[in-house]
């Protein structure tokens, strides 16, 4: 098998398996377990297949181009050290899968559990096999994410949710620090490739940025490995199902931190800073974890704190800056994985078979599950460091290291051996408590279940692991010797020291320390008996020092108090201050730029002033000022003045050679005016000024006036500055040259819209469609304010006039209102429609196009609505705006996709000219189809909005009528147009 395939399969298979497991039915417990087990075994096989190469000192690599422009490659890389870890991940993974099959209840959604577990396995493999630091940080964060999902698997319990959240917050924060640190490291070295980084140790340690990089990377590693003061997330993660704890907290997740420290040990270690940070964190964690573990009443809690303590031991070894200590650390990583995984599984078995993990309730289980008792005793003995167990050998090495540690801080070095002994005695005490408390003593009373031995398959993983503890303990050199040697050489290279793995090194100081610690631990345990019997909660002396409480306080502070304070200080829910802020910031930003860069004169000589244009703009400016003034007092006047400004804008476009813009602006102007006119009906009468004093209001107005004048002056200056400079030509030239030769049209603007930037236009018409649908949806549930419900004054007058005349009936005047214009409008309908068609067809070559034509088409229809009345039109003309819109979008997108069929990029145009009889030559570019799509959508969207607005007057009265008659039952549901009628809005009028 090729190296590339091997590495890719090892990393990728678990993720593939996770996806497959995630799609299994909820209760496919066995299938999911088989799948996960098979993948773990295959992974193990793949790792084994790599052994010959790796054992010979080789490194398997596979790199794929990722971002070549930045010199970044995705690199998978396996050396002896990574091999050992990958084996651990898959090996323990396989055992955990087997165990979990029997542990998980059939009622739980087990496939999801295995999906998370597999994804976690893949992330962990990704971490150990990463040959690129950024990639490593990525997989690192993935492990945080999937451990979050695994810890929170029983998300119906609050403990699981809190534990998961805490673990994620701590480890992901650490992960972010790690990422920053890795970026710094890459900056120092000039490459993110692990091989290059590992070869640049002196450069890194000598660099000015060494300390920040070190601190950031260690933040990542120490949080992940639950080192003091970040240790508190680990005990809370015990809310996870026990297989998760057995996997994450023995062999994988928490080992990622020490893995990283060991991986980068050759380049980061060897300095005072490393010794101080890593060494003291490890020492503190070792002691605190061991001390607290003694007083845990929960079996898993005890194991959690002992895990923290053992991780502290490994960290301390890594912090000692000695190659031998590094070897001991790697060895202990292995040993700890074996005995801790089996102990977690044993705790899970007890929990599973008795229904409780509380040491105060458990007792005498030896008589009910003797086999499990023996297994747990072996594992606990290894944890305590009893001779002939694997834990004993690495502990011996640890003791030896504490005696010979080198460093400048003599005080720390002096207490090291004693601290090691104390921690070791604590370890003996909590191991004893685990075994003695749960398995010996009187028969248990009042347990939730009657305890019995677990299924044989559930016990098998524990048996394998316990056996490993004994065999490694008896014959270390013959069993793990070669692998440890390989890993140490891969991690340390030529600096690997000589060491001997043996049970008996003679009667030396470490052995004396071991025996002393054993004796002290046993004595301590029996001295503490009265304390345990008093049902104490938490360890004496430091029970108040709870990381969790501090964490939660800081969370509350950050996410609630600080946020609220900042919102109170900086936020407002009022629109005006927000807009004022936006405008002021914009002015200041522009002003700052002008201040910094200066505002020199332009390089174009201004053209002379044309009196006609000056006059036109005098009108335009007057209209704008008038609209600003009248918008408050006389809305209709403001609307008319706004139209005036629009017309002036339109004329300006014509004046400066932009007929397309002028045309579109004119049509948009008409439609906008109609739109606003339709809205005027529902706005309230102006209120007289409210409570605020006249002075304050005048002050506010003055301030706003100043802002407005500043903005206006600034914009005028900016516009003048821009206009008196040469415009950039590159883009224009590009389009002018290619519009005909490549787009097949002479109207460059249109060709840009439908061809060169056709994708933008597609997005734009989609926006238009969304706006129309939103407007429709909002207006469907529109209820006018009570004071706008009445029939308008004019119509009331007209009705009164009818009533006063005996020869007229009420409603006659309204019916005949605008009769002549409406007849003219009816006659004009086909004409306007033809103009729309004309604009559409000629758009590619002459001013026009889909937008203009669409607006023209909707004007043809809205004219009928305005003059003939909604009911009259809808009785005769069924406009189906949603169909128009759908057709338009389909056509536009379909034209684009059509190009794909011919092997061209999306929205490529095909063009030719067709000669039609009578009409003449018309362009039949595929862009025309696209433009027809634009046309249809614009018609649909405009009509949908306008009709929805126009129909409000009809609906408004109808809604008001039953409200007036049945005022006693205001809660009666107002009928909502049925979903089916949404496609044919004409039918909707019938419902309301």
């Amino acid at each position: 098998m090729s190296d590339a395939l091997l590495l890719l399969a090892a990393t990728g298979l678990p993720f593939v398996g996770a996806i497959v497991a995630g799609m299994l039915p909820t209760h496919a417990r066995n299938t999911a377990a088989w799948l996960a087990g098979a993948i773990a075994i295959i992974g193990l096989g793949l790792v084994w297949a790599a052994y010959p190469t790796v054992a010979a000192g080789g490194v398997i690599r596979h790199s794929m181009a990722w971002m070549p422009s930045l010199g970044l490659d995705l690199v998978l890389r396996m050396d002896g050290f990574a091999w050992l870890f990958a084996g651990l991940v898959f090996g323990v993974g396989a055992l955990v899968v087997l165990y979990a099959r029997y542990y998980m209840s059939a009622d739980d959604p087990v496939p999801r559990f295995f999906a998370f577990l597999l994804a976690f396995m893949g992330s962990m493999t990704g971490v150990v096999l990463s040959g690129n630091l950024i990639q490593l940080a990525f997989f690192w964060e993935l492990t945080s994410l999937f451990s979050f999902l695994l810890i929170g698997y029983w998300h119906h319990t609050a403990a699981a949710r809190d534990g998961a959240r805490m673990a994620l917050t701590i480890t992901a924060t650490g992960g972010l620090c790690l990422f920053a640190g890795v970026l710094l490291l890459g900056h120092i070295v000039g490459s993110y490739n692990l091989d290059v980084v590992l070869a640049s140790g002196d450069k890194i340690r000598g660099h000015a940025l060494y300390l920040p990089a070190l601190v950031l990377i260690l933040m990542g590693a120490l949080t992940k490995s639950a080192q003091f003061p970040f240790h508190f997330w680990l005990p809370h993660a015990m809310a996870a199902p026990t297989p998760v704890s057995a996997y994450l907290h023995s062999a994988t997740l928490v080992k990622a931190g020490v893995f990283l420290m060991a991986r980068l040990w050759p380049v980061l270690a060897g300095t005072e800073a490393w010794f101080w940070i890593v060494g003291s964190a490890g020492l503190a964690t070792l002691l605190i974890g061991a001390y607290v573990a003694i007083f845990q009443n929960d079996l898993k809690g005890l194991l959690a704190y002992s895990t923290i303590s053992h991780l502290g031991l490994i960290t301390l070894l890594l912090g000692l800056n000695s190659e031998l200590a590094m070897v001991a650390a790697i060895f202990h990583i292995l040993n700890h994985a074996a005995f801790k995984a089996s102990l977690f599984m044993a705790a899970g078995i007890i929990d599973h078979e008795t229904g409780t993990r509380d040491l105060r309730r458990l007792s005498g289980l030896n008589r009910f599950m003797p086999f499990t008792t023996r297994l747990a005793m072996v594992a606990a003995a290894a944890m305590a460091g009893v001779p002939l167990m694997n834990g004993f050998i690495s502990k011996e090495m640890f003791f030896a290291e504490t005696l010979t540690a080198q460093g400048s801080v003599t005080f720390l070095l002096d207490i090291l051996p004693f601290a090691a002994m104390v921690a070791s005695a604590f370890a003996v005490a909590y191991s004893l408590r685990f075994i003695h408390g749960a398995f010996f003593g009187p028969d248990p009373v009042d347990l939730p279940h009657l305890p019995h031995e677990p299924p044989a398959w559930m016990r098998l993983p524990v048996e394998i692991l316990a056996l490993a503890c004994i065999i490694i303990g008896l014959l270390p050199a013959a069993t793990v010797g070669p692998y440890l040697n390989m890993a140490a050489h891969a991690a340390l290279g030529a600096a690997t020291p000589e060491y001997s793995l043996a049970v008996w090194h003679g009667f030396n100081t470490p052995l004396v320390m071991s025996l002393l610690a054993l004796a002290a631990g046993v004595t301590l345990y029996f001295l503490l008996q009265p304390l345990f019997r008093r049902n104490i909660e938490g360890p004496p002396f430091i029970s108040r020092l709870e990381g969790r409480r501090m964490f939660e306080r800081s969370m509350v502070f950050l996410s609630w108090r600080l946020a609220r304070t900042l919102e109170g200080l900086l936020g407002t829910r009022r629109l005006q201050p927000q807009l004022r802020l936006v405008v002021c910031v914009a002015i200041l930003a522009a002003g700052w730029a002008v201040y910094r860069r200066g505002l020199g004169p332009g390089n174009l000589v201004p053209q002379g002033i044309d009196p006609v244009l000056a006059l036109i703009w005098a009108i335009g400016a007057a209209c704008a000022l008038g609209a600003a003034w009248q918008a408050k007092f006389h809305r209709l006047a403001a609307l008319i003045l706004l139209g005036g400004t629009g017309l002036v804008t339109c004329v300006t476009f014509v004046w400066f050679s932009a007929p397309d813009l002028a045309l579109t602006q004119l049509l948009v102007e008409i439609v906008t005016t109609i739109l606003l006119l339709l809205g005027l009906r529902w706005l309230p009468k102006r209120l007289p000024g409210t409570g605020t004093s006249e002075v304050m209001r005048a002050g506010r107005r003055l301030r706003d006036l100043a802002i407005a004048i500043t903005a206006g002056l600034g914009m005028a200056g900016l516009a003048f500055g821009v206009m008196t400079r040469f415009p950039p030509e590159i883009l224009a030239q590009h389009f002018l040259e290619r519009a005909y030769t490549e787009g097949g049209g002479t109207n460059v603007v249109n060709v840009i819209l439908v061809d060169f930037r056709g994708f933008d236009t597609l997005g734009e018409i989609a926006v238009l469609g969304v706006v129309a649908l939103t407007a429709y949806a909002l207006l469907r549930r529109f209820r006018p304010a009570p004071d706008s419900v009445d029939v308008p004054e004019q119509q009331r007058d007209q009705s009164a006039y009818d009533i006063a005349r005996p020869e007229r009936r009420e409603g006659d005047t309204v019916a005949d209102w605008l009769l002549i214009p409406s007849v003219i409008a009816r006659l004009l309908f086909p004409v306007v429609g033809m103009v729309a068609l004309f604009l559409l067809l000629r758009g590619h070559d002459l001013p026009g196009g889909g937008f203009a034509a669409g607006l023209m088409g909707s004007i043809a229809m809205i004219l009928q609505y305005m003059l003939g009345g909604t009911q009259w039109v809808e009785a005769r003309l069924r406009v189906l705006p949603l169909r128009w819109m759908g057709l338009g979008l389909l056509l536009a997108a379909g034209t684009g996709l059509g190009a794909l069929l011919f092997g061209r990029p999306f929205l490529t145009t095909y063009f030719a000219y067709a000669d039609l009889p009578l009409i003449g030559e018309i362009p039949t570019a595929s862009a025309l189809l696209f433009d027809i799509g634009v046309f249809a959508l614009v018609v649909g969207a405009t009509m949908l909005t306008l009709i929805a607005l126009a129909r409000q007057s009809v609906r408004g009265h109808r809604a008001a009528a039953p409200r007036a008659t049945a005022a006693s039952a205001p809660a009666a549901p107002v009928p909502v147009p049925a979903a089916a009628s949404a496609a044919t809005p004409t039918a909707a009028t019938g419902d309301d």
């Binding site: 201004p606 918008a631 002036v648 400066f656 819209l753 304010a785 004071d787 969207a941 909005t945």
Partner: protein
């Protein structure tokens, strides 16, 4: 010419900003419309003010800036016109819905309490 248009844009912007800061929704919608005229004219003017430049090519010929108007700002503004129409429509409908729900046409959905 440049001066006239620049002043025009300035007046439109000033009026628009003034209305933007007013408390009534109708004032804001008129202000936004004025502001969009100003912005469209500004974008348009970045291509240079040319009277009498051909906006359309001769069939079969490539154009050049010497004789033709700059099509890029025009295409941008054409898009902007349509989008500002859509925004105005959406805002109008929103203000009507808000007015129906809250009974007031104040931008905050309630009259100032003080």
């Amino acid at each position: 010419m440049e001066l006239i248009l620049a002043l025009g844009i300035g007046v439109l912007t000033g009026s628009g900003v003034w209305l933007l800061l007013r408390p009534r929704t109708f004032q804001v919608i008129i202000g936004l419309s004025l502001l969009s005229y100003a912005v469209n004219l500004f974008i348009f003017s970045t291509g240079g003010l040319r009277t009498g430049a051909a906006p359309v090519l001769e069939r079969g010929m490539a154009g050049s800036l010497a004789t033709h108007a700059d099509p890029v700002p025009q295409a941008l503004v054409l898009t902007a016109i349509v989008i500002s129409f859509a925004t105005t429509a959406l805002f109008l409908v929103l203000l009507l819905a808000a007015r129906g729900l809250t009974g007031t046409d104040h931008v905050d959905g309630k009259e100032k309490s003080r």
